[in-house]
Subunit: 463 residues, 2 copies
């Protein structure tokens, strides 16, 4: 151990004096080298697991003094490499700061620490008659991570995304100073909107230490239904009609038979509809059963305009559970089926059909199977480019990169974006750079420089 390392160890131990909350150099566990998607062999300087805001402040001040970049990490369920190390970083793992601190029923807000898990938040509030609408697939993701990526999920079509449910953030800035952005006030025309700048900034502008979430009353009634179609065009085109007719779906998921078949096989369960080749899995919620019945009729009318061959209301709870379970397991099933890369693209909703059709063109052109599913009501697809039985590594990489490049070009041409809800991280950076106007990148870089002049917070991510 050289002198530099020794000082680091001494100083970090002075901040975090419990062995199980501090790992230095070679002692850093393997899990910190990757998120759910990216593996990086970069060696980190240390991993610290603070349990107080004060410890985070001290860690940030230490990193400033030593000029060590910082990665803030929550549950490690990211899908874009935003928390994967590039080498030489201090990882601040906040997953021990996972308390649900306060439910304020008067302002209908929930105060949580960043490491609290999404699933725990859902359970906590639902038991008490409240509703936290954002519903990303991974219930094991942390709320801090949800804020860092502006996570979306199933219910965005009606209720919006994480951004829409964050009232206030407590943040440690790059220099260790504390700031509170946003407030419990419902409206504001009082200066620049700092809060929304931090949301979705993937740990590059500050470290969130406390979050106040906005809650809604839990909807009184809910019903899901499957709409089956003979062609994917019919299914994707029905989406627009459903939205325009005021059906007001809470969720509107799209997938093809061949995708759900993978999930059926993997999970040894049958999807309640076996008709057709493409599905919309839709949830309606509302203040009464009458309201849902009425909108279910509107839904039926809307899908019949697009030749739907079956509408299956999931009144049977077991059918409802099975349908959503199989939907939730789509990505896992694709992963079991083959090595693959998952995209997270979004286009204006009127282009989702065009985009989907283009994935079929690329499928033919490349010989790779492309499996797409996603949040049709938001224009957000997850396209999985699968390796299948291609043995040659180089050939697979060439084909994969070719498909990725062409697909991102098409998304750009359609006015879309590379990431709807997972973030840019490192894996989407080249596409993000290509798809974003220089002037927008320049403004973002100027903001980064204004907030973090020494580029200490998650450097080389996003920008």
């Amino acid at each position: 151990m050289n002198d530099f390392d020794r000082t680091i160890e001494d100083e970090l131990t002075a901040i975090i004096n419990q062995e199980e909350r501090l790992f230095i150099g070679d002692a850093v566990p393997e899990e910190y080298k990757y998120d759910e998607y990216v593996y990086n062999t970069g060696n980190v300087v240390a991993v610290a697991l603070p349990i107080t805001k004060k410890e985070i402040v001290q860690l940030v001040k230490f990193a400033n003094k030593k000029n060590i970049p910082i990665i803030t990490r929550g549950a490690g369920t990211g899908l874009s490499g935003a928390t994967a190390p590039l080498g030489g970083e201090l990882i601040i793992d906040v997953h021990l700061m996972n308390k649900i601190t306060e439910l304020d029923e008067e302002t209908m807000t929930l105060t949580v620490q960043p490491g609290a898990l999404l699933g725990e938040v859902h359970d906590f509030v639902e038991k008490r008659g409240y509703f936290y609408p954002p519903d990303p697939g991974s219930k094991n993701s942390s709320i801090g991570g949800n804020v860092a990526t502006n996570a979306g999920g199933m219910r965005a079509v009606k209720y919006g995304v994480t951004r829409d449910y964050v009232r206030e953030l407590e943040i440690i800035l790059a220099d260790g100073r504390e700031v509170t952005v946003g407030s419990l006030n419902i409206k504001s025309s009082s200066g620049y909107d700092l809060k929304d700048l931090f949301i979705g900034s993937e740990g590059t502008l500050g470290i969130v230490t406390q979050i106040k979430l906005r809650l809604l009353p839990f909807p009184k009634a809910k019903l899901s239904a499957i709409a089956a179609f003979d062609t994917l065009e019919d299914a994707t085109e029905a989406v627009l009609t459903i939205l325009r007719n005021g059906v007001d779906p809470t969720a509107m998921e799209f997938f093809e038979r061949e995708a759900i078949a993978l999930s059926e096989k993997e999970n040894k369960l049958l999807f309640p509809s076996q008709a057709g080749t493409a599905y919309l899995l839709i949830t309606l919620d509302g203040d009464s059963n009458e309201s849902i019945e009425q909108r279910m009729k509107l839904l039926e009318k809307s899908i019949l305009e697009h030749n739907s061959i079956e509408l299956l209301p999931l009144i049977n709870p077991s059918q409802e559970y099975t349908s959503w379970f199989l939907r939730d397991q789509l990505l896992t099933s694709v992963v079991s089926y083959s090595e693959q890369v998952t995209m997270d693209e979004v286009v204006p909703i009127n282009h989702i059909s065009t985009l989907y059709k283009y994935t079929k063109v690329l499928e033919k052109e490349s010989g790779l199977k492309l499996i797409s599913f996603g949040h049709a009501g938001d224009g957000n697809l997850h396209t999985c480019i699968t390796r299948g039985d291609i043995a040659d590594q180089k050939l697979w990489e060439e084909k994969r990169d070719h498909v990725l490049a062409k697909l991102y070009d098409k998304i750009h041409e359609l006015g879309g974006l590379p990431s709807a809800e997972h973030g840019i991280g490192i894996i989407k950076k080249p596409y993000f750079n290509k798809m974003t106007a220089d002037i927008n990148l320049e403004l973002m870089r100027n903001i980064k420089a204004a907030f973090d002049p020494n580029n200490l917070l998650n450097p080389h991510k996003v920008l």
Copy 2:
């Protein structure tokens, strides 16, 4: 005319070559010296009325060359002095850029120029079955101004504010370069949220030249009702119960009998309820009459918990119209009644009753009449401090400033903000500075410096 003035005249005329769209020096009409609230005697260099984006770019480049600050102005209905000149500015009046350019029914968006008026936008979309929810009091305000102040209005409790309905902005930056922020995509986790930074920035970060607004399907059913109470405590405390019980009101306005009495007198109309001393005027909308009936029952239950003495559903269209007309005329009626200053404060909704009661304490203490009304469902009050019959100017100013200072202190103590929807401009700057943490002001100033290093866009406003 000196050489400096001559060059200015020559250069501006080269950009805007129509007499009726360019006013220089003494030729500047009086109306440009004030908004609806602030009168400033500052002499402006010139007023230009561009009709194209290109002209705006040229004007900004000209201002850069001559180092002349720029004020962007829309309909001139601002209430905080954000568009009032301090002296030496070029005013870019965009009110001639008022076209509704495109209704895109597929993405449910409306493209408008910044000078389009709110009332025109409402009419245009409602005729076509769509709904633009933001509903600030002044239908003669421009959409560009609504974006600049993140305007709120009556329907924010259910539908949110202007911010929630802006999908994309085309902007001219301080150096004349163009940028598009936001997009037609419903979700984004692709870089920093530049769009929300411009919204509510009161013309200090850029000049908006085009706006894409998000529309909803027009609600199928609507009903307003008046709830009357014997005490203002009962009325304000009922607000929380109504929200928690899932009544989901579109609007929930609060006022006292003595305020509505001024409007009755001014407009020679009777408010449909004459019972009690305090009212909530509530609108419910939804997808069916059944849904509204059901929630009307929930409303009745909620207000009975707070001793409501009358619930009057406004089924008669003339009663409904009269009620909302008298509500809309509250401020005008207060203005007719007495010289006054109107505030635009917001507190977390659980503190609205405390705040209201404190205005009564200050009323006694100062001898001035304080008339408050507002968007109770958002915690947003408009408190009018009236001069009444105080003849002595200095005495009035002293009392007024004393009440303002104490009231803003109380708002701050309750976790509130100086402006919910009108903006900071110049008149609220001292209070905003006092109520905002230094670190937040510093971050805002850093953003301003990053976007407008020469401080050319609306300098000395907000910050």
